[in-house]
C-alpha cells in the first residue's frame, strides 16, 4: 500500500501535535502552579488539549450484567484497563455513562478511579433496559486553576436489565448448615417433650449460684447482678435476663436484697419485668422494690465507675456478671474481688474471658452462658435444645477434620464454600 502525499503530511502533523501535547501536559503540574507567571504557555495548553489526540485510549472489553444476589436496582459494569492506564498518569479515571437507548443521550452514572475495573450502578430501575459506555479520561488544572477533562471515545455496551433475586446463591451452604443445626435442635426439643431423658454435664459456675445467693443471705448483705453493657438486641443480654429470672426467684425465697444496675433503658424495663415475674412466682410480689432495678448510664466507663462506687460503699456478698462485657470487665471484677465478694461471671466475649477467669470465683465460658437458663430451669424442652446444639457442634468438628484432611492431601480447599464473595 502506498501512502499518498497528503496523508503523510497529515500523519506527520498529527504525530507532531501529539508529541507537543504530551510534552505540554507532562509540564502541566508545575505550569499550573506557576500560572500567574506563565500566561502564554497556558494558552498553548488549551490549544493543545483541544486536539483529540491527547485523549487516552478507552477501556476495553466492557461488560455489563445484573448485579448477582441482590434485591435489584443495580447493574455491574466491568472492563479491562485502558492501554494508557499503566501508571504513567495518562489516565485519571473512568467515566461510566448510561442511557435507556443505544443511541443516547447518555447521562453520567458515575466515576471510577484509575486502575479500577468495575463500577456498580446502584441507581437503575428494574423495569428499564440500559446501555453503558465506559470512557477513560485525563484530568488536569489549566492556568486558571480550572479542571479540564479530556475524555476518550467509548463504545456502547448493552442492553442490560437489573433484577432482584429470590435466593442468594452465595449462602447456599450456610443455609444447609443452618437447616441441619436448627433441625437437630427442634428434633431434640420434640424428643424431650415426649419425655426422653436428656443428659447435661455439670457446670460448676451455675451450680454455685445457689451457694452464692445463700452466702449473701447468711451474711445479710446485698447481691449485685450486672447484666452487661449491651442492649436487648444482644442475645447475651437476653440470656442474662433469663438467668436473672432464676436468681431473682432464689433471692425472693431467701428474702435477700438483689440489686440490678443497668446501662440500657430497654434492659431496665425487661429486667424489672423478669424480676416482677420471679417475685410473683414465689408469692412475694410486694417484696420487690423499684430501687432494686435502676438505670445508671449508657456510657461504658461511667457505668463501670458507678458500679465500682457501689461495690466499694456497699460491699455486696455476691456479684453476678452475666452478659456482654468489654474493657470494664476487669475493672468491675477486680473491685469485686477486693471487697471479698463471691463472684460468678458469664460472657460470650472471648477477649474478656481471661479477665473474668483471673478475678472471679466461677466463669461461664461462651456457650455456657446460653445454656445457663436451660440448666437452671431443668425444663426438658430447653435441655433438648442444648442436645441439638451439640449435634451442630459435632457436624462442625467433622467438617474441620474432613477439611484438614482434604487440604493436607491437596484435594480441595473446603473453606471456599463459606468465602465471602
Amino acid at each position: 500500500m502506498r501512502l499518498s502525499s497528503p496523508n503523510l503530511t497529515h500523519n506527520c502533523l498529527k504525530i507532531a501535535l501529539f508529541t507537543l501535547s504530551l510534552l505540554l501536559i507532562s509540564l502541566n503540574a508545575p505550569l499550573a502552579q506557576d500560572a500567574e507567571t506563565a500566561p502564554d504557555t497556558a494558552v498553548t495548553i488549551e490549544q493543545a488539549v483541544d486536539s483529540a489526540n491527547v485523549a487516552p485510549l478507552p477501556a476495553v472489553n466492557v461488560m455489563v450484567a445484573d448485579l448477582p444476589n441482590d434485591k435489584g436496582g443495580a447493574v455491574l459494569v466491568s472492563w479491562e484497563l485502558s492501554p494508557d492506564d499503566d501508571g504513567n498518569g495518562k489516565v485519571s479515571g473512568y467515566l461510566v455513562q448510561r442511557s435507556e437507548s443505544k443511541d443516547g443521550p447518555f447521562e453520567t452514572a458515575g466515576n471510577a478511579v484509575r486502575g479500577a475495573t468495575k463500577f456498580t450502578d446502584n441507581k437503575t430501575d428494574d423495569d428499564k433496559v440500559y446501555f453503558y459506555k465506559v470512557a477513560a479520561y485525563f484530568e488536569y488544572l489549566d492556568a486558571a486553576e480550572e479542571k479540564i477533562r479530556i475524555t476518550s471515545a467509548a463504545t456502547v455496551t448493552g442492553p442490560v436489565q437489573s433484577s432482584a433475586q429470590w435466593f442468594n446463591m452465595n449462602r447456599l451452604y450456610v443455609l444447609l448448615f443452618m437447616l441441619f443445626v436448627a433441625g437437630a435442635i427442634i428434633f431434640y426439643i420434640e424428643k424431650a417433650k415426649k419425655g426422653d431423658e436428656i443428659y447435661i454435664r455439670k457446670i460448676a459456675g451455675i451450680d454455685a449460684v445457689d451457694e452464692a445467693v445463700g452466702r449473701a443471705t447468711e451474711m445479710g448483705k446485698k447481691i449485685f447482678y450486672i447484666p452487661g453493657i449491651q442492649d436487648m438486641n444482644d442475645v447475651q443480654t437476653i440470656a442474662s435476663i433469663a438467668i436473672l429470672g432464676r436468681v431473682a426467684q432464689m433471692a425472693a425465697e431467701y428474702d435477700t436484697w438483689l440489686e440490678v444496675p443497668v446501662s440500657k433503658s430497654m434492659v431496665l424495663v425487661t429486667a424489672r419485668e423478669a424480676m416482677k415475674e420471679a417475685y410473683t412466682k414465689v408469692g412475694r410480689p410486694d417484696a420487690l422494690q423499684d430501687a432494686q432495678v435502676h438505670y445508671l448510664t449508657d456510657d461504658q466507663f461511667g457505668y463501670a465507675a458507678a458500679i465500682d462506687g457501689m461495690i466499694v460503699r456497699e460491699k455486696p456478698a455476691t456479684i453476678f456478671y452475666m452478659g456482654a462485657f468489654f474493657a470494664e470487665s476487669l475493672i468491675l471484677a477486680e473491685t469485686g474481688n477486693s471487697v471479698g465478694a463471691i463472684q460468678i461471671a458469664g460472657t460470650a466475649q472471648p477477649a474478656q474471658l481471661p479477665f473474668f477467669v483471673a478475678a472471679c470465683d466461677y466463669t461461664l465460658i461462651g456457650e455456657e452462658l446460653f445454656a445457663a437458663s436451660a440448666y437452671l430451669s431443668r425444663e426438658p424442652r430447653q435441655l433438648g435444645s442444648l442436645k441439638g446444639q451439640d449435634m451442630g457442634k459435632g457436624l462442625f468438628i467433622l467438617c474441620i477434620i474432613v477439611g484438614v484432611i482434604l487440604a493436607t492431601l491437596n484435594v480441595w480447599d473446603m473453606s471456599v464454600i463459606f468465602a465471602s464473595k
Partner: protein, 226 residues
C-alpha cells in the same frame, strides 16, 4: 395476651431476619431494613426512659436522706447541667449562619466533652492497667503444668509485644525471639482457641435464638419457660 403479643412479634421478626439473609428479593430484603429502622427509633426513645429513672431514683435517695445522697445530688446536677448546656448551644447555634451544632468544635458542650468527659472516661479506662497488673500478680502462678504453660505463653506475649525484650537479647542473637514467639502464639494457638470458642458461641446463640423464636424461652419477657 400480654405474653402472646411479644412472642408473636419476636417470632415474626426473627423469621424475617433469618429469611432475608438468604432471600434478597422484596418483601424480605426491604422488611429487614424496616425492622432495623424500628429498632433505631425504639432505642432513641428509650434513652429518656433511662434518664427519667435515674432522676427518680436519685431524687428518692435525697428525699429519704440515704447515705448516698451526695452522689445522687452530683448525678442530678451533672445530668441537668449537661442537658442545659447542650440545649443552649443547640438553640443559639441555630441562629448563627452557618448553623452550628451543639457538638461542633468551640461550643460549650464541646468544652465539656473535651475537658471533663474525656479525662474522666480516660481515667476509668486507664485503671485497667492497674487492675491487669494486680490480677496478673495474683493469678499467674505456676500451680500446675497447665498454669505453667499459660505463664510461659503470657511471658512471651507480653515481652514480644514491646521491643525492649528483643533489644535485651540482641547481644546474644539477632533473631527476635520474643516477638517471633508472641506472633506465633497469637497466630496459631490463640486463633485456634478463639475459633473454637466462637463456633461454640455461635451455636449457643443459634440455640438460644431458636428457643426465643419458638417461644420456649420466655423468661426475658417476664414469663417462665414454656
Amino acid at each position: 395476651m400480654r405474653r402472646q403479643i411479644p412472642i408473636l412479634i419476636t417470632t415474626i421478626a426473627g423469621l424475617v431476619f433469618a429469611i432475608s439473609y438468604f432471600i434478597p428479593h422484596d418483601p424480605f430484603g426491604e422488611s429487614e431494613s424496616i425492622f432495623g429502622d424500628w429498632i433505631t427509633i425504639v432505642q432513641a426513645f428509650a434513652v429518656w426512659l433511662g434518664a427519667l429513672n435515674l432522676l427518680k431514683i436519685s431524687f428518692e435517695k435525697i428525699s429519704s436522706k440515704s447515705a448516698d445522697r451526695h452522689y445522687a445530688a452530683i448525678i442530678i446536677v451533672s445530668l441537668i447541667g449537661t442537658l442545659a448546656v447542650g440545649f443552649y448551644d443547640g438553640y443559639s447555634g441555630m441562629a448563627q449562619d452557618p448553623q452550628v451544632s451543639f457538638r461542633d468544635p468551640g461550643t460549650n458542650f464541646d468544652w465539656l466533652y473535651r475537658f471533663i468527659y474525656t479525662p474522666l472516661s480516660a481515667t476509668m479506662f486507664s485503671m485497667l492497667a492497674f487492675f491487669v497488673a494486680s490480677a496478673s500478680y495474683r493469678a499467674f502462678r505456676a500451680r500446675n503444668v497447665q498454669a505453667t504453660l499459660l505463664l510461659i505463653a503470657g511471658f512471651f506475649v507480653m515481652g514480644g509485644r514491646v521491643p525492649l525484650f528483643d533489644m535485651m537479647i540482641s547481644p546474644i542473637t539477632d533473631f527476635p525471639v520474643f516477638s517471633w514467639f508472641a506472633d506465633w502464639i497469637m497466630t496459631y494457638p490463640n486463633t485456634a482457641g478463639q475459633r473454637a470458642i466462637m463456633i461454640g458461641i455461635a451455636l449457643g446463640i443459634m440455640s438460644s435464638s431458636l428457643r426465643i423464636i419458638l417461644g420456649i424461652e420466655r423468661s426475658h419477657i417476664g414469663g417462665g419457660s414454656g
